[in-house]
Structures are given as structure tokens and as C-alpha cells.
């Protein structure tokens, strides 16, 4: 079973005076956490995200693609990065998320990735 751990920045990047999210200390803690996840077989994929101002929204459901500058939702909180993890159940996922939150110094959200229908 896979879970998405979303990293939610609610002012940490701004407080650190940075555009990209993690400080050097945070990045080091994240590296340690990632290595442990790989050793324990929980690691699937992860990434940090560029600043929301670097986002571009595309809507191609109509006749012409509409391209707009900036994030689809303006808010103080933004998605700063994510992990995809492998975990047997929510208890395991929550334990990893606790460590993830500590490592990246931000709150995180855990959501199950829907499994493919057999």
C-alpha cells in the first residue's frame, strides 16, 4: 500500500528568507530520514518543489489550452514537497510521517494512494 506524504509549508521558507524551501540543516535531516526509509524498504519516491510562484496552470478541457501564471490556489500554506512511501497500514505510515515532519521541520499530510482495481 502506498501513501503520499505532502509537506506543507506554513511560513518556514519565508522565515528562513528562502525561495526554495529547505535550509541546509533541514536538507541534512531529510537526507538521514531518506536513507533510513530506503534501508527499511519504505522508500518509493520523493521530491522538493519549487516556489509556488514558479507554477503554471494549464486547462485543456476546452477548445484551446488556457495557460495561466501562478499556483491554482493562492494561500499562505503551500505544498513544498512530497514523499511516496510504501507502508503496510496507516499506523506504519503515521509513524513514518511523524519522523518526516520532524526531519523537514514542517507539518505533513498523509493520504492513501488509491490502489489499482484488480
Amino acid at each position: 500500500m502506498q501513501y503520499l506524504i505532502s509537506v506543507i509549508d506554513d511560513g518556514q521558507a519565508q522565515a528562513a528568507g528562502r525561495i526554495d524551501s529547505a535550509t541546509a540543516d533541514e536538507a541534512a535531516a531529510i537526507d538521514v530520514f531518506n536513507e533510513q526509509m530506503q534501508t527499511d524498504g519504505h522508500w518509493v519516491f520523493a521530491g522538493g518543489l519549487g516556489d509556488p510562484s514558479a507554477a503554471t496552470v494549464i486547462d485543456n478541457r476546452g477548445d484551446e489550452p488556457i495557460i495561466s501564471d501562478g499556483p491554482y490556489i493562492e494561500s499562505k500554506e503551500f505544498l513544498a514537497g512530497f514523499w511516496i512511501i510504501e507502508a503496510a497500514d496507516l499506523d506504519v505510515a503515521l509513524r513514518l510521517a511523524r519522523e518526516a515532519s520532524r526531519a523537514c521541520n514542517r507539518k505533513v499530510e498523509v493520504r492513501p494512494v488509491l490502489q489499482e482495481e484488480a
Partner: protein
């Protein structure tokens, strides 16, 4: 068939529902890994019992009969689902067949069910509703009425919680030894909330004391006690509930006003519940392990229920127990309750000074203003007392409590 037999069968069904519902749901949930199916199959099994037992007689082992019937119903339900949707997936709820970890925990499917329903990833209100439905066997309509939520909203809340358990894979297991104390504490908090909502209902239009909810809180706590007989906090919570519930007959006046403990007719207290509660408290004292929050609260209630008269209360012991509680739970509410005991031990002026220090944190809490008002009245600071009563009346949610506050204010 005579009326006696009909009544016997009806009683047997009621008894089986009370005793066996949680076991039936838990057993089916474990076998098929799906709470929805377990709930429906258990309901169906009881419906079959209502239909068949009057004609066929009550089976020798009602619990076994109900479980077998529910299992068969679950298979029917799954077949029907599969026919409707060929892509229907195997149920995803995870089941851990490891034996329960710590000493004193009986590995019982009902315990797995309780821990799943009280999982910290569910909102508190969902935990309460789901526990009452899945473990307590109350209908959605009963839960909706008990908690003053519309039935459709309550049905949605329960469905959402079940969906989350399934989709996010909340496990059907007794937590590991590391997590157990914290998770058990979460379960006990749910049961205490159920009991408390019965003991002091919050709705202004609600019956002030809800016997159904206090009884349900006690029944579910007894169940956990049976399953975890060694756990001190479980014993403590049960003892506290029993010792509070013992005072229920004296809690409302003839005119429906809440009667505070200093004015209660102690002769009306339930001696059997007090004896049971005291025995549990003594058991915990003999265990000689550091008590948790519920054990301390039980001990405080044991001191109150040991006194033949309010004036005989051993206040120094009550204050000492609150001091112990504050070490574990330094919340302003505990400090407020401690101050009430301090008023009896050291006088209302000392207590008022302590209460006034809590004003920042508790300014919107009716009991804070009610306590201040009583202390100010005793210190003959009438104008301030009246203001405090007014504020308490404004904030109080329970009709009987409001009536009692109004009477105390008007007596000034």
C-alpha cells in the same frame, strides 16, 4: 404460544444484542476485513433471530448462532456486491494475526474493533459515533438522538469514518506495546466522553441527565475491563464512572434542578455501585504502581463517597490527590477543581486567589464563573458574585445546571 414464552424470547434477543453484538461485528470484520459488511451482516443476523427464535426457540448458544448466521449473511452480501461489480476488489482492511503483545491484554476481536473505532486518525466525534454503533450496537437513529445530530448527518459521519478506515487502511489490531498506553488512553477518552455526555448533557433542550449514555459508557468500560483486567487506568475509569453514577439518584431536585454535592441527599446514593467502585480503587492501591489520571480521579470520587456527610469529607486528601493529578495534567480545569477543594480546606479567600489566576484560560467556561460566584458569595462580595453568576448562567449549556445557578444567584 403464551405471552410468557414470547417475553422470554424477546428478553433473550435483547440480552443477546447487548452481550453479543460487538463480538458478532468483530468476528465478521476480522474474517472479511470490512466494517461495512460486518455491520450489515450483524444487523441481518439479529433480524433473522427476531424472525426465527419465537418459532424455533432460542438456540442453546445464541452468540455462536448469531456469529454463524452473520458469517453466512456476509458471504451473501459479498456475492451480491461481486455480481453487481465484477471488478469488486478483495476487502482491504488489514488484519494482523500476531498475538496481542503486552501482559494483561486478552487477544479478542472486540478489542481490535475498539482500537480501530477509536483510532487517533479519526476525528473525536467520529470515534464516539463509530464506537457507539460498532461496539455498542446502538442504531444510527439512537446515536443521532443521543448526540443531537440529525440522523442523515450522523449516517454520513459514520459512513465517512468507515470509508476512511478502509481507504487509509486503519488496521484491525491491538496496538504494539510501545503504542498501547497512548492508544488505550484514546479509547478511554472516547468512553469517558460518552459517559460524561450522559451525566451532564450539553444541549440546552436536552434532558439534563441521560441515563442511556451513562449506562452505555459504563457497559463499554466494563467490556474493556474484562478484556484488559490488569490495566490500572481501565479499572480507574470504571471506578470513577461507578462512583459518579452512584450519586445520580441525588443529582436532580424534585423541580429538576441540579443539586451540587454539598447539598445532595447522601441516603439516595447507590450503595452497591459505591461498594463496587471502592473495591476497584482498593485493588489499584494494592497494585502499588504509580496511578494514572483516571485512577486519581477515581480516588477523589472514593473520598467523596466515603464521607457520610459533606462536612466529613477528608479535604486534605482530596487536595493531595489533585496535587498528584496536576503533576500529570497541569490543565487549568484540574487547577479549578483543586481550588474548589482548597476552599473547604483553607477557606474561600485562598481558593478565590487561585481561581482568579485561571481567568485568562477559562474565561469562556461556565464552571469557572460558577466557582468564582460561589466563592464570592461565601466572602459576602455580593455584587461581584451576582456578576459572576450572570456570566455562568449565560455560558451554561445544561438546563438543570442553569436552574441551579439562577437559584443561587437569586438567593444572594
Amino acid at each position: 404460544m403464551n405471552d410468557g414464552v414470547v417475553n422470554d424470547v424477546a428478553n433473550a434477543i435483547t440480552l443477546a444484542h447487548r452481550e453479543e453484538w460487538a463480538r458478532v461485528v468483530a468476528t465478521v470484520a476480522k474474517r472479511f476485513g470490512d466494517l461495512d459488511i460486518a455491520e450489515d451482516a450483524a444487523s441481518d443476523a439479529f433480524a433473522v433471530a427476531v424472525e426465527r427464535w419465537p418459532a424455533d426457540g432460542v438456540p442453546p448458544n445464541p452468540g455462536g448462532w448469531l456469529t454463524t448466521t452473520a458469517n453466512r449473511k456476509a458471504i451473501d452480501l459479498i456475492r451480491r456486491e461481486n455480481n453487481r461489480d465484477r471488478k469488486h476488489k478483495e476487502a482491504v482492511m488489514i488484519i494482523d494475526n500476531e498475538p496481542a503483545p503486552p501482559v494483561g491484554v486478552i487477544d479478542d476481536d472486540r478489542l481490535r474493533l475498539i482500537f480501530a473505532c477509536c483510532h487517533p486518525a479519526l476525528a473525536m466525534e467520529s470515534r464516539v459515533a463509530l464506537t457507539l454503533r460498532m461496539v455498542g450496537g446502538l442504531t444510527v437513529d439512537e446515536i443521532a438522538r443521543a448526540l443531537f445530530v440529525q440522523e442523515s448527518a450522523m449516517a454520513r459521519r459514520i459512513t465517512r469514518a468507515k470509508t476512511k478506515i478502509k481507504q487509509a487502511r486503519i488496521p484491525f489490531r491491538v496496538p504494539s506495546a510501545d503504542d498501547l498506553p497512548e492508544r488505550l488512553y484514546g479509547v478511554l477518552a472516547v468512553l469517558f466522553l460518552v459517559f460524561n455526555e450522559g451525566y451532564l448533557a450539553t444541549g440546552r433542550d436536552a434532558a439534563p441527565v441521560r441515563d442511556d449514555l451513562t449506562a452505555e459508557g459504563i457497559r463499554l468500560t466494563r467490556l474493556i475491563r474484562d478484556l484488559m483486567p490488569e490495566d490500572g487506568e481501565v479499572a480507574g475509569l470504571l471506578a470513577m464512572m461507578l462512583l459518579i453514577d452512584a450519586r445520580r439518584p441525588a443529582r436532580l431536585s424534585a423541580s429538576g434542578e441540579l443539586v451540587t454535592i454539598d447539598e445532595q441527599n447522601r441516603g439516595a446514593w447507590d450503595r452497591a455501585l459505591i461498594a463496587e467502585g471502592h473495591a476497584l480503587v482498593r485493588e489499584r492501591l494494592r497494585a502499588n504502581t504509580p496511578p494514572g489520571r483516571y485512577q486519581i480521579l477515581a480516588a477523589i470520587n472514593a473520598v467523596h463517597t466515603s464521607a457520610p456527610d459533606f462536612r466529613d469529607t477528608d479535604w486534605s486528601q482530596v487536595v493531595a490527590l489533585y496535587d498528584q493529578l496536576i503533576q500529570l495534567d497541569p490543565s487549568p480545569i484540574v487547577a479549578l477543581n483543586r481550588a474548589v477543594a482548597v476552599a473547604e480546606l483553607d477557606g474561600p479567600d485562598v481558593a478565590l486567589a487561585a481561581v482568579d489566576r485561571l481567568g485568562g484560560a477559562l474565561n469562556d467556561y461556565h464552571a469557572f464563573h460558577a466557582t468564582r460566584a460561589d466563592l464570592l458569595r461565601r466572602l459576602r462580595r455580593t455584587t461581584e458574585a451576582r456578576e459572576a453568576y450572570d456570566r455562568a448562567i449565560e455560558l451554561a449549556g445544561n438546563a438543570a445546571e442553569t436552574a441551579s445557578l439562577i437559584r443561587r444567584r437569586d438567593r444572594l
